[in-house]
């Protein structure tokens, strides 16, 4: 039976940020952390245990997977690389849609409060 991406929603902030970081391609742990910081304008600062604990959960749920180091990855051979799975991409997209709907709803609700027409 096919897994429904909506069954994984809502994602935690850490899960969503990591999936977004992996949507750009294969990355190792530290690169994921850098991408998360960059994507969030430095607001989200993820510690190592939060990062690897969340990655572990994502891999267990089939949303991300460990892959061999990509060609041209010349740095430390001890690094482990991860990428988004097909299911992970669908879940990430579904979460983005959910958040977009939420943002739309909030904007609409706050418009009169903020005095906007």
């Amino acid at each position: 039976m096919e897994t429904n991406p909506r069954d994984f929603l809502p994602l935690t902030a850490a899960q969503f940020h990591i999936l977004v970081a992996l949507s750009d391609g294969v990355r190792h742990g530290y690169a994921i952390m850098q991408a998360v910081e960059s994507d969030s304008d430095g607001i989200v600062k993820m510690g190592p245990a939060t990062l690897y604990g969340t990655l572990k959960r994502l891999v267990e749920n089939g949303l991300a997977e460990e892959v061999p180091a990509p060609d041209g990855a010349s740095d430390d051979t001890r690094r482990r690389y991860y990428r988004l799975t097909g299911l992970g991409a669908m879940v990430c997209s579904a979460e983005a849609d959910r958040l977009a709907a939420l943002v739309k709803s909030v904007r609409s609700s706050l418009r009169p409060v903020l005095g906007l027409s």
């Binding site: 742990g29 510690g47 190592p48 245990a49 939060t50 990062l51 604990g53 572990k56 001890r78 482990r80």
Partner: protein, 195 residues
């Protein structure tokens, strides 16, 4: 100097995480910490990982305790401990209390037999060696306790407390050795054997 101290401290603090998590990600986390030190400096690396440690150590430890295998392990321990305490009670002249404890152990074992059998049969093969090793250690404790008891009592009469402690250790070691031996022998030898 500061970097080296920070790295060594973090390495020691990693011991606070559950063993399974540490084995899987300990090296990655240390490498991550090294990257942080190189790119952001020891102060930022230490501050960020300190907050991370405070938040994640209790959470991951709690998750490790609450996961199925930990609960099963606790259940197995209680199932063995109840008859052990029961036999000890009988040996010390409390047959009714002993019988009640043994009965409780039997009832608990029967009620949870499916769960216990599943936890034994679906354990990873590495558990087999660990269980058999535990059985051997328990048996060694039993033999040591018995020899110690014989040596001590050959010179002077044993006190009631000494007798109580020795009996408890002996019965617990015997029960533990038997339970771990059975569990170890029933644990699959390879991944293919797991149903």
């Amino acid at each position: 100097m500061l970097r080296s101290l920070a790295r060594r401290t973090y390495r020691v603090l990693l011991m606070l995480y559950p063993a399974e998590f540490r084995h899987e990600f300990g090296a990655d986390m240390l490498l991550h910490f090294d990257d942080l030190i190189v790119n952001r400096g020891a102060v930022v690396a230490t501050t960020r990982t300190s907050v991370d440690l405070v938040v994640t150590v209790p959470r991951y430890q709690l998750e490790a305790v609450m996961n199925t295998s930990s609960v099963d392990r606790m259940l197995g321990t209680v199932v063995v401990a109840l008859p052990v305490l029961g036999v000890s009670s009988i040996l010390f002249g409390s047959p009714w209390a002993g019988a009640a404890l043994i009965g409780a152990g039997v009832i608990l074992a029967l009620a949870s037999r499916g769960r216990l059998a599943r936890s034994i049969r679906t354990a990873p093969p590495s558990q087999r060696a660990r269980r058999l090793r535990g059985s051997a250690v328990s048996f060694a404790v039993l033999v040591t306790a018995y020899i110690g008891f014989v040596v001590v009592t050959s010179d002077e009469p044993v006190s009631m407390l000494g007798l109580l402690v020795t009996t408890l250790i002996g019965v617990a070691a015997l029960g533990g050795a038997a339970a771990l031996l059975v569990a170890g022998l029933l644990t699959p030898k390879s991944e293919q054997a797991i149903p």
